[in-house]
């Protein structure tokens, strides 16, 4: 299962979960449905992120307090977001979010 290794590399390099890699590969290579791919990807990310955090901690890069201050409220945020998803038109939100990402990319390039 090359997916795990590739996702780990991607996640470790960029500090993201790896779902961007895992979900499409599960759908394409293993004929997963969208829901099963998302669920299984999340479970895999728990392992990937925990392990990558440990390695980054060895490099002294992890800011423990900031990580918890961001991560714990994010759990509540995801619940709110998931709840709203059933009740909102996601098209406009997706476009807004894409615009936020572009703005963040420009900001990072200018730093």
């Amino acid at each position: 299962m090359a997916i795990g290794t590739a996702a780990g590399l991607f996640s470790g390099l960029f500090g993201v979960g790896g779902g961007t890699v895992i979900v499409p590969l599960l759908v394409l290579w293993l004929a997963y449905g969208e829901r099963e791919a998302t669920g299984t990807s999340l479970a895999t990310i728990v392992f990937i992120a925990a392990f990558a955090t440990a390695v980054q901690a060895a490099y002294g890069n992890v800011r423990l307090l900031d990580g918890l201050l961001v991560g714990v409220p994010a759990v509540g945020g995801v619940m709110i977001g998931t709840w709203c998803q059933q009740r909102l038109a996601t098209r406009s939100i997706a476009l807004l979010f894409a615009a936020v990402l572009v703005a963040a990319a420009v900001e990072l390039l200018l730093e």
Binding site: M1, G4, T5, A6, A7, G8, F10, S11, F14, G15, V16, T20, I22, T38, G39, T40, A43, T44, I45, V46, F47, I48, A49, F51, A52, Q56, N61, V62, D66, G67, L68, L69, V70, G71, P73, A74, V75, G76, G77, V78, M79, Q85, R87, L88, A89, T90, R91, I93, A94, A98, A99, V100, L101, V102, A104, A105, E107, L108, L109, E111
Partner: protein, 127 residues
């Protein structure tokens, strides 16, 4: 401290809405609003992802959407990749890593626009 909580909440809400991982927003949020270096932001983002993914995975597992054997296998095999990715990140300079990350989120933005057509058959019924 308030900025960190705001980043977490906002990233969580957007992630839940759009099915995008929080890390894509945690990293730029930590760099831009908390002034962390790219390396610190990526490392801290990984830590922040753990509780989010854990709660999400448990919820999905209850609905029977987690294929446990595959998740365990991929998780185990990711260890080598994750160690290599972190090592690679740490040999790159902050500027190079930041530029690569900026290109990554531009790609994700493009993908997001492309995969949500106006008449999405999977769009919520009450849209």
């Amino acid at each position: 401290m308030i900025a960190a909580i705001a980043i977490g909440l906002a990233a969580g809400v957007l992630g839940g809405l759009l099915g995008i991982g929080g890390g894509v927003l945690f990293v730029p949020g930590l760099v831009i609003f908390l002034g962390l270096s790219q390396h610190q932001a990526e490392a801290t983002s990984l830590l922040a992802i753990v509780p989010v993914a854990l709660v999400g995975a448990l919820a999905q597992d209850r609905r029977g959407n987690v294929c446990r054997p595959d998740a365990l296998r991929m998780g185990a095999l990711s260890i080598v990749g994750a160690a290599a990715g972190v090592a690679l990140a740490n040999v790159l300079s902050g500027a190079v890593l930041r530029t690569a990350f900026a290109l990554l989120i531009l790609l994700i933005a493009a993908q997001l626009v492309r995969r949500t057509p106006k008449n999405d058959p999977n769009a919520p019924k009450k849209a």
